[in-house]
Amino acid sequence: MPTHVSAPTGPAEAGHDTGRIPLHGLVELAEHTLEVVSDAGEGAQKCGQGFGALSARMGNGSWTVEIIPAEIQPPPRTPGSASGVRIRIGTREVTNWGDAAGLVIAFNEQVLLSRHRLDALADDAVILLEKRWGESDDPAVLAEWKAALEELSSKPYRIVLVPLEEQTLTVVDNPLHGKNMFALGVLCRIYDRDLDRAREQILRQFKKKSRDVQQANVRLLELGASWAKENLDFQIRVPPGPEKGPMVVMNGNEAVGMGAIASGMELCAMYPITPATSVSHYLGDVFERFGGIVHQAEDEIAAAGVAVGASFAGKVAFTVTSGPGLALKTEFLGLAVMTETPLVVVDVQRGGPSTGLPTKVEQADLLAVLFGQPGDAPKVVLAPATIEECFHCMITARRLAEALRAVVVVLTDANLATGVTPFPRPVPQPDWQATAPDGAPVAQGGKPYQWDPETGLSTRFVPGQPGGMFTATGLCHDEKSAVTYAPHVHQKGCTMRSRKLAALQSTLQPPDVVGPDSGDLLVVGWGSTKGAIEEACERARAEGLSVSSTHLTFLSPLQPGLRAIFERFRRVMTVEINYSDRVGDPFITSENRRMGQLAWLLRAQLLVDVDCWTRVMGEPLRPGQILAGIRAKFGKGADS
């Protein structure tokens, strides 16, 4: 029987976020958040991802996000070694990682401690903790165990000890290869998952392994489920939502890679950088089958250069990077803008500046992308808000790059990159794909930059086209690409390159407002925060606050109609994962306050007094955290 080492908490009730778990019986919740954490290498990620995928297959909304240690093999049994997954499942679509987890399976008390210290666990969370460390012969381990449980006792967690390793050893010799599947079995019982589907899933996950390994893992799954049935006195059911039609499940970087394939692009030039690299891992595996090449260049600069050269000579190419790499590519982006060579750049943002937080999320490259080049370098900037949009954005980006002869930057981030969620299966269209240059001769007198005076658009000449020969140059050039420093030529070139953005803006729609279209506060977001912002605003409205939100996909050009929307609200505030000063801190005034990046942009562009609420904690925003920020703006409660 499990040992309860903490006092049972108060009566169960269905809370908004975590959902409180009753002591006995079955509870039905609209959604629930759980975590699986272990030392790196113990397989918690496989367990958690498997559980997320299984839940998606059973018709739940789900969002899983990896908990990644900074090192590959950090010292075991330390808070820094925590590796695992958070999974949030719901009846409705799940758009973000939620607030605190209501249940956690921890393979040792130290990794659990790290989650506790990060406030990742709800006060009334159920903790399923490997029990062997509390029975250790090693006095040092025992001392650590006692100290950890003492620290954990500051919260009314309900801790249940689980013989993870002991049980696993009844099936396999090496518990490292099995505890995770036992844990999956435990979760399957708790969350009432279909064991047949779980078995199928294990066979799929281990399809490259031997039959013995597959069978052992299936036995461990079954053992975990039966252990939980005999020893745990509660179950949680998150009912599936309505039938949604065919769905696919993947993370944001896979979606970027698949979107690139669907867009018809055929060359990805990259240099390894976290958290962008897994786009190339995915493409490295499949791209050649689609006639594509992943070129791992010698450095970030070369990756940009190869993409520019490839685009110059044929179909649009792309490069994938993150902040430090973006910085290195700066000069090439300027060259692509100046030569009007189409180019797609994916920036999977992480914490900065400098090396910053390589594995953790931030949205702090927006202004660098917009203004990072010397001189005026207008480009299109798109920010997908969901993993599904990561896919579709690549198709839009390719098309715009080509139509506008422009650099199109797609700003995703570590939250989208590693988050996994199901979305409606796309139906690929032939016209999503780039067509090969046709090699048709250029008409007599054709110029390589024959700018349409209204739109700045011009037709690109591609090598192979007789009569189209010209030398693209980063120097100031006229319509024939002849180098000249004559005063009006540079003015005209800048005007035409800029005009393309205005022309694009004229085709865009204002963003939707979620919630009433006027009120006290409008929250404006961009990128991966959409789900958390909308959830926070919905909860604020449920509390009677007059809050709506809008989310921008286009950051350059900005979508039209923003000022008109903003004017319908008493206050406008961006919510972003980047740094801003807080008024009231030493020396900080409303005049010298440095703003969040979108706020900065909106203020400059629209002359609206846009406020901001931002955090740089290296993690996705939690809806509850945003809600506290919103409440504080209304003078209700302390900010988070």
Partner: protein, 317 residues
């Protein structure tokens, strides 16, 4: 639709092209009188004509500097890029379009300083292209700053009491890079040799690196004065598989017998940097070419949709 495969005759070559040499000439260059770049440009234009290159299937890529104005003066497609980065652009062009004839033109600052990393890796990739490094031992366009190949002790605006360091040896560096495929040196004061070297480089299937010793009458008039004036000081590497130019061999009488398949001897000859040696140091046509090893199937849009549906199946819920 363009056929992106290279013809058997060679990339960019069209036997039906019969253009007068003037048709390969762009607007005249504005290099200083006496600049070595003029002769290299003329030799290149002649090569394009003689090799019957289709102008629309030929691309000249360059970096930044005096010599990097090259593409503007040739009537083919061109990409005048950014400082040090001609090779990545050229790599992208060739990877995407193996059917094109690609030339990368760099100065010594471009190739051996700001773009040195790309130089090492472009040699290793071994794409089929010609890389010309016009080496005048100085930064010219920015007006007289020391470059890695500036002779030790030579004064410049940035090192007025003379360059502090021994000059970098581009030949020995290139010959030290894994997968080197074609390494030659020529000198602008031997026009026939420049042409013959360019021709050998162009016909070589692989990355052909050609260092061209190039006089800068403005900033480094002295560095090549002696070999340019005294024929005996310009040594000619001779071999039937090397750069063969009988007329040059007749006038330049200091011959060094060298088999360009002998890498050790090539390195030995290159190391003796006090000698001015021109000719083919090394050639190995057997090395794998990157655009060949990376060749991928060509699919129609419909093919790709079918494959994509299978990919979605793999990720289906």
């Amino acid at each position: 639709m363009i056929d992106t495969a290279c013809s058997l005759l060679g990339c960019g070559i069209d036997p039906h092209v019969e253009l007068p040499q003037e048709d390969y000439e762009g607007p005249p260059p504005r290099w200083c009188p006496g600049c070595g770049d003029h002769g290299v440009l003329a030799a290149t234009q002649r090569l394009l004509h003689d090799e019957r290159l289709a102008p629309e299937r030929t691309v000249f890529v360059s970096g930044i500097g005096c010599s990097s104005r090259f593409p503007h003066h040739i009537r083919t497609y061109g990409f005048h890029g950014i400082h040090g980065r001609a090779l990545p652009i050229a790599t992208g062009v060739k990877l995407m379009r193996p059917d094109l004839a690609v030339f990368a033109v760099m100065g010594d600052g471009d190739c051996t300083s700001i773009g040195a990393g790309h130089w090492v890796h472009a040699v290793r990739y071994n794409l089929d292209m010609v890389a010309l490094m016009l080496d005048n031992n100085i930064y010219g366009l920015t007006k007289n700053q020391t470059s890695p190949t500036t002779p030790q002790g030579h004064p410049s605006n940035t090192q007025p009491r003379g360059s502090w360091l021994p000059a970098l040896n581009p030949l020995s560096v290139t010959l030290g890079i894994t997968n080197a495929s074609f390494v030659a040196q020529t000198a602008d004061w031997v026009p026939g040799h420049v042409y013959a070297t360019l021709q050998a480089a162009f016909r070589h299937p692989g990355f052909a690196f050609v260092r061209i010793l190039q006089r800068c009458p403005k900033w480094t008039p002295g560095v090549f004065r002696a070999p340019a004036q005294q024929m005996a000081l310009t040594e000619i590497l001779v071999h039937e598989d090397g750069v063969v130019e009988p007329e040059v061999e007749q006038y330049y009488k200091t011959h060094v017998a060298h088999d360009p398949s002998d890498l050790d001897h090539a390195r030995h000859l290159a190391e003796e940097s006090d000698k001015v040696r021109i000719g083919l140091f090394y050639k190995n046509a057997a090395n794998a070419r990157y655009e060949e090893t990376r060749r991928v199937p060509v699919h129609t849009a419909e093919d790709k949709i079918r494959l994509l549906e299978a990919e979605f199946d793999r990720h289906a819920v």
